[in-house]
């Protein structure tokens, strides 16, 4: 006796969250059944393995049919074939677009192209995430990217509107799209200690302050592309380290203000010029695409690592950065105060976030 056909169709589409997760994680039906058996469900419910197999198949089939709609979530809301309560629809969408930390760290900042897609095999082996799941996550990134690129208005809003994601997830996707668009390097060994959350945090600050959208909300791609003019202007900051008097004055202002307040004062005093040179040079280099890509590498190399090697506590880093940015306002010979604030305001937040073990 073999089962030729075995289906269950409810007027309200049944969604089993556990099975949905297994499906999203890319397990085959037999693996999923094995995992469900291991979870002790048979003992809890008194079901047999055959029942579990049939149930899993059924759910997988449903998910497979739903997948087409999940690619354009508004369709899921308006379609008539599956009657799914709104809360369940939201869950389906949210889970479908959720991604694994390990995966996103591998592709963050990479071009979402066929080439990267070919590397998914390696990523799968490296992260232990099934290839199927990797593909789904990659395709999600790519799909969101394709839809929102060249669109007007806020990136987060656009994503939310077209994919009906929660605010949190929409922000994460904004970061992913932003990183992919600007191709920030995140894979270098020295950046491995950083989490996706760290990058997402930085991305949000940069979108807010450094993009076209920060000055003009009526252009295409406003939140995705960095403000070229702004990057060009950043060259002007070079004077802060090039002009020796200005640099000395800046140093003395910072040192005076922080004397006695900083645990690592002497280290700071010794390193001030190096640190300042590092930060300003990063700014000045941002005119080149290549250097934009290396922004995070540079920040870690030029600032995070020196401080870390001198064992600065985070509180000292904060005090230093506050004073370092603020003191520039007292430099009479420096005319680019607004530019400095736009640059340093964002960098300040990013550096604090990046500064950890």
């Amino acid at each position: 006796m073999t089962s030729e056909l075995d289906i269950f169709v409810g007027n309200t589409t049944l969604i089993d969250e556990d099975v949905y997760r297994l499906w999203l994680d890319g397990y085959s039906v037999s693996d999923a059944v094995a995992l469900r058996v291991r979870s002790g469900i048979l003992e809890q419910t008194g079901a047999t393995a055959a029942v579990l197999q049939s149930d899993t198949m059924d759910h997988y089939r449903t998910f497979h049919m739903l997948e087409r709609l999940l690619h354009a979530p508004p369709k899921l809301l308006h379609q008539l074939i599956f009657q799914i309560p709104p809360s369940r629809q939201a869950l389906l969408i949210e889970r479908y677009y959720a991604f694994d930390e390990a995966f996103v760290r591998e592709v963050l900042g990479k071009k979402l192209s066929k080439g990267t897609k070919k590397d998914l095999d390696d990523i799968s082996t490296k992260t232990g995430i099934t290839l199927k799941s990797c593909r789904r996550q990659f395709d999600n990134f790519k799909r969101v990217f394709k839809v929102v690129e060249e669109m007007r208005g806020s990136l987060v809003d656009n994503i939310q509107q077209h994919f009906l994601l929660s605010d949190r997830l929409a922000r994460d996707y904004a970061a992913i799209v932003f990183f992919a668009n600007n191709r920030f390097e995140t894979g270098k060994k020295k950046l491995q200690y950083l989490s996706f959350g760290d990058f997402a945090f930085c991305a949000e600050l940069m979108i807010q302050n450094w993009t076209l959208g920060a000055v003009d909300s009526q252009v295409d791609d406003m939140d995705m592309d960095l403000d070229k003019e702004f990057l060009q202007d950043l060259k002007e900051l070079k004077v802060l380290v090039a002009d020796k008097d200005l640099l000395d004055l800046h140093k003395s202002l910072v040192c005076t203000a922080l004397r006695g307040k900083l645990g690592v004062f002497s280290e700071m005093e010794a390193n001030f010029k190096n640190l300042s040179r590092g930060l300003v040079n990063v700014a000045a280099k941002l005119t080149h695409n290549k250097d934009v890509r290396d922004l995070f590498v540079d920040l870690v190399e030029k600032f995070v690592e020196p401080c870390r090697s001198d064992h600065w506590p985070l509180s000292d880093v904060r005090l230093f950065l506050n004073q370092y940015s603020a003191s520039v306002h007292s430099l009479d010979g420096f005319r680019h105060q607004a530019l400095w604030d736009r640059y340093m305001g964002t960098l300040h937040g990013c550096l604090l976030r990046l500064y950890h073990d």
């Binding site: 073999t2 056909l5 556990d18 029942v51 497979h64 709104p86």
Partner: protein
């Protein structure tokens, strides 16, 4: 010119890409009714065209309005080649033809293609202007209401229940016409869909005419079926119960005012003249059927035995009649005469109802059934389907005579079915013989006094159990006792019926689904030989099914079956029997005796031991079941039973002995030397198997109950969560040395596994009950068995008092939390009113979270989506995520029951009767047979929901999937499936909301649109 049909095509959405080059579509629409066609403009390059057409007007006869469906075809315009069809929508405009139903059909309909399935949606508005027609000889029957519901619909009152109406129409099946060789599968499927749509329209109109002739205004319990007879044609037949219904004026003034006074006028005349039409009783045709009448007791009487066409035997008719009044006293005689006169005017005193107004059902005799094996021949003249009519007439005559033998003049819970394999067809009919109260059957002139006497004489809750036949002249051997409730009248020891449990019946404990399953191998044969072989097998099957049912009933410790439905399916090389019923313990009937096992070779010691072991197992099972179903009949003091009730009519020789075991009353045993059915003789391995199989039926897991009746006896605190589903399974038998035992085991396992799967799938609804569980068996091919199950799971509350307070608290909490969103959400709440607002019982949520934390690996990035029960249609208001707030698809509930728990049906919008064909030539690509059928059934549900929503409704009640014919050819990568569904579209209002609205606007005439009618935008 009695009607003007107006159609407007508004827009389309989600259309498929028809032009690969541009990834877009140039869509336009053809609107066709009868022979008239209109077209919209072509809307260039869009997948979401906005046609916004003018009103297309069709001026038509009301006869056509009833027969023809409105046909809407969406096409892709192509300048150089033929336009490609995207898909079609058929709209049955019947609901617009009678007052009180829908006034407009408006909404999004899925565009359906028989090859590709649903391809986008189209927004259509349909209206009908009807003019009064005074022509007395008209052929239309506009205004007659149809209901699938097999009880008096909730917002109506039955003035008169006229009785049986039937009709059938035949035609050639387009699939078998010569032209089918040259046309595409799509054209063939569409021709078939259209023909069946036409035929059902015609059938409905003809039935409507009969109803008008009987001076009724409605058909209740309308059941329409298709017989796909292959080469010999296509038969569409329907039965129903004609009634005169009166709309109840709801005290809450909830119903919208009737649409137009002119429409209302039409109905009044039918109420005025209540004289039932006098039909002369048809001449009794020689009976050529194989028939059996189930008696409520253990044996059944074979009334006649003959094969299909050549042999004939005249049955002993009128066996039980003529005995009226002997036992029941003068009252019974009077009652019987009344009923008789009312019913004998009718050719067939049958009622398709399964639930009745209080007082309607007086006594129940037992199940009567008749089957007949026929050889199909080509229908030569479609206009005169005499052969098919004659076949059914024979069977009905048979049923009638069986009922008479049981001292009954009517048959209730009546239904008919067929099973076809190649050119052999088994026609079956069954029902429950009953004595009815005449007051509903005709004008109640004598009603007054009779009614009073009725109420005096029939104590509530047991009257219907009292035997209608004469105990001295019983049609079959039965063990009678005095009713355990009133102790005045006689009752049988077991009662089998096809109806629902009467609401006033006293039941002890809960009920359960009982199934008897049976297979019999049959040699492959042709024509006559085949028919004869089947005819010879049938009685054995019936007997065994009956024995199995009886044994299982005993094993459950119960004494009555309701909703009994026995289906015999014929295949190439086997016959399948599946009987489903709901077992209950009726307080009025005696406690069932146990099951005794007897061995044939009493001298063998080890054998004896084995027997006693089995006996113990059986006794344990009975005890366990009694506990499980809470069957704890009040201890009947031996004195009451033992001592004769002081009553003059009592005959001492009929006194029962004190023992409960049923084989001890000998005085009544008319069947000489008959073995008691409850003694199982284990004389060979077969019997051994039987006993084993009795014990293998696993009870549902705790928290689950199941029944095939409307509701579960013993549960009444339903909560509002319902889930209707259809499950289909097909198994392939290994063809090698199939034996009856192996076959039985396979079939049994199939059904049991299916049930187990259902319990597992619906576990999040616990505690819940599967109601109206409807199994259908078919044998699509030699080695394939297909089982289709449709049922509804309804949650109930174990502790209602606790729950209501909790709901209250939670509701107020919710209200507080959503206060600031109130304004924004207000319109949303309106259109989501159909959603149950009940939060889920806390216990369930615990269970849920426990199961979802069950060690599933790979932690996803935390996603904060609030937890909701997988079944929940609720939780709408406390949902936090804003993205889905613009959802515009209203919820449409579907249920095979005639009601919706926790809600009130305020309006019936009309009958839904849809027939779909789906075919594929890329079976593998569509996910194999399972993927194909899964998608198709989901699409059928979607189309039903869309039609209901367009009528302004928010639910389908009495939903039934009457046919699901699935054929596959995996070698050719092809499959085809035909599905026929029906039900009643309704508007319902939650009881909780009913209160709110009625207090808020006591005078306002609240339109259904504020209760979920406005489901689409």
């Amino acid at each position: 010119m009695p009607g003007k049909l107006k159609v407007k095509i508004v827009a389309g959405r989600h259309l498929p890409v028809m032009d690969r080059a541009s990834d877009l579509t140039d869509a336009f629409v053809e609107v066709k009714f009868g022979n008239t066609t209109f077209k919209t403009d072509v809307y260039l390059k869009s997948l979401n065209p906005q046609w916004n057409s003018e009103w297309f007007k069709f001026e038509v006869d009301d006869e056509d309005l009833q027969d023809e469906p409105l046909q809407i075809t969406v096409l892709d315009h192509d300048t150089y080649s033929a336009n490609d069809a995207i898909g079609k929508v058929y709209i049955d405009i019947d609901p617009l033809l009678y007052s009180e139903a829908a006034t407009v059909i408006s909404g999004w309909f899925p565009i359906y293609d028989t090859i590709h399935g649903i391809r986008g949606e189209i927004n259509v508005v349909v209206k009908v202007d009807l003019f009064n027609d005074l022509n007395r000889f008209r052929q239309s029957s506009c205004g007659v209401k149809f209901f699938c519901t097999t009880s008096i619909p909730k917002c109506y009152r039955a003035v008169i229940i006229h009785g049986f109406v039937e009709e059938l129409v035949v035609n050639e099946d387009p699939e078998y016409q010569w032209i089918d060789r040259i046309r595409t599968p799509r054209a063939s499927n569409e021709a078939r869909q259209r023909l069946i749509s036409l035929m059902s329209g015609e059938l409905q109109r003809k039935i409507g005419l009969k109803v008008l002739e009987m001076r009724g205004n409605a058909v209740v319990g309308y059941l329409q079926c298709f017989d796909l007879e292959g080469e010999s044609g296509l038969v569409v037949r329907a039965i129903g119960t004609a009634c005169t219904l009166d709309k109840l004026s709801s005290p809450a003034a909830f119903l919208p005012a009737c649409n137009s006074p002119s429409k209302e006028m039409k109905e009044i005349p039918f109420n005025e003249d209540p004289n039932p039409n006098t039909h002369s009783s048809g001449p009794s045709t020689p009976l050529k059927n194989q028939t059996y009448s189930f008696s409520p007791s253990k044996s059944y009487s074979r009334q006649s035995s003959s094969s299909d066409t050549d042999l004939s035997l005249t049955p002993k008719t009128g066996m039980g009649s003529g005995s009226a009044g002997k036992e029941g006293g003068p009252f019974k005689a009077l009652l019987r005469q009344q009923t008789q006169s009312a019913l004998e005017q009718r050719e067939f005193p049958f009622f398709t109802l399964t639930a009745f107004p209080p007082g309607f059902l007086v006594h129940v005799g037992g199940v009567v059934s008749a089957r007949s094996v026929k050889l199909l021949d080509r229908i030569h003249n479609p206009d005169e389907p005499e052969t098919r009519d004659a076949w059914w007439a024979e069977i009905r005559q048979e049923i009638k005579s069986h009922a008479k033998a049981l001292g009954c003049h009517a048959v209730v819970g009546y239904s008919e079915s067929t099973s076809i394999c190649e050119e052999v067809c088994i026609l079956s009919a069954s029902g429950t013989a009953a004595v009815l109260n005449p007051r509903f059957l005709q004008d109640g002139t004598v009603e007054g006094c009779l009614e009073q006497r009725l109420e005096e004489n029939l104590p509530a809750g047991c009257g219907f159990c009292h035997i209608p036949y004469d105990e001295l002249n019983m049609p079959f051997p039965a063990h009678l006792t005095y009713c355990y409730n009133c102790r005045k009248q006689k009752v049988p020891d077991v009662l089998f019926t096809t109806i629902d449990l009467p609401t006033d019946a006293t039941v002890i404990g809960k009920g359960c689904l009982i199934q008897a399953r049976l297979c019999r191998l049959k040699k492959k044969a042709q024509a006559e030989a085949n028919a004869t072989a089947i005819s010879n097998l049938l009685p054995f099957m019936e007997y065994e099914v009956h024995t199995q049912l009886m044994n299982k009933l005993k094993l459950k410790g119960m004494n009555a079956l309701f909703g009994l439905r026995i289906q015999i399916t014929v295949g190439e090389n086997m016959l399948m029997g599946l009987a489903s019923a709901t077992g209950v313990y009726l307080a009025a009937l005696p406690t069932p005796g146990g099951i005794q096992i007897a061995g044939k070779t009493p001298n063998d010691g080890s054998y004896e031991q084995h027997i006693s072991h089995m006996q113990k197992k059986i006794n344990d099972t009975i005890a366990k079941n009694k506990e499980l179903y809470e069957i704890t009949p009040p201890e009947i003091s031996e004195e009451i039973i033992g001592s004769p009730i002081p009553e003059p009519r009592q005959r001492s020789r009929l006194l029962r002995s004190q023992s409960e075991s049923s084989d001890e009353v000998t005085e009544l045993d008319l069947s000489h030397g008959k073995k008691d059915a409850f003694v199982l003789e284990i004389d060979d391995t077969d019997a051994m198997e039987d006993v084993h199989s009795l014990l293998t039926d696993v009870p549902p897991p705790s928290g689950f109950y199941s029944c095939n009746t409307e509701i579960m006896p013993g549960i009444n605190n339903w909560t509002s969560e319902i889930q209707m589903f259809t499950s289909v399974r097909v198994i392939r038998l290994s063809s090698l040395n199939l034996t009856n035992q192996a076959l039985n085991k396979n079939f049994n396992d199939l059904c049991e596994n299916l049930l187990k799967s259902l319990y597992f799938k619906l576990r999040s609804m616990i505690p819940c009950c599967l109601c109206h569980v409807n199994f259908t068996v078919s044998l699509p091919e030699d080695e394939l068995i297909q089982v289709t199950v449709t049922a509804v799971a309804i949650t109930f509350d174990k502790n209602q008092a606790l729950q209501t307070t909790k709901i209250h608290v939670e509701k107020s909490l919710q209200r507080a939390s959503t206060d600031n969103e109130e304004l924004l959400q207000f319109p949303l709440e309106l259109c989501s009113d159909s959603l149950p607002s009940h939060p889920f019982p806390p216990a369930k949520e615990h269970l849920e979270s426990a199961s979802s934390n069950s060690g599933i690996p790979a932690a996803q990035r935390a996603v904060t989506v609030e937890k909701a029960s997988p079944m929940g249609e609720g939780n709408f208001r406390n949902r936090s995520a804003p993205p889905c707030a613009n959802s515009t698809v209203g919820v449409v509930k579907m249920t095979p029951l005639s009601f919706i728990p926790g809600a009130k049906i305020t309006k019936y919008l009309g009958i839904i009767n849809m027939f779909f064909i789906r075919e594929t030539t890329s079976l593998r690509e569509e996910g194999g047979v399972s993927g194909f059928l899964h998608a198709f059934i989901a699409e059928v549900f979607a189309m039903v929901r869309a039609h209901v929503a367009a009528l302004g409704g928010n639910a389908v009640v009495s939903y039934i999937m009457k046919q699901c014919v699935f054929m596959e050819n995996p070698n050719k990568n092809q499959a085809q499936c035909l599905i026929n569904v029906s039900g009643d579209a309704v508007v319902f209002v939650r009881e909780s909301e009913l209160e709110v609205v009625s207090t808020q606007q006591p005078t306002a005439n609240c339109q259904p649109s504020c209760t979920g009618g406005e489901v689409t935008t």
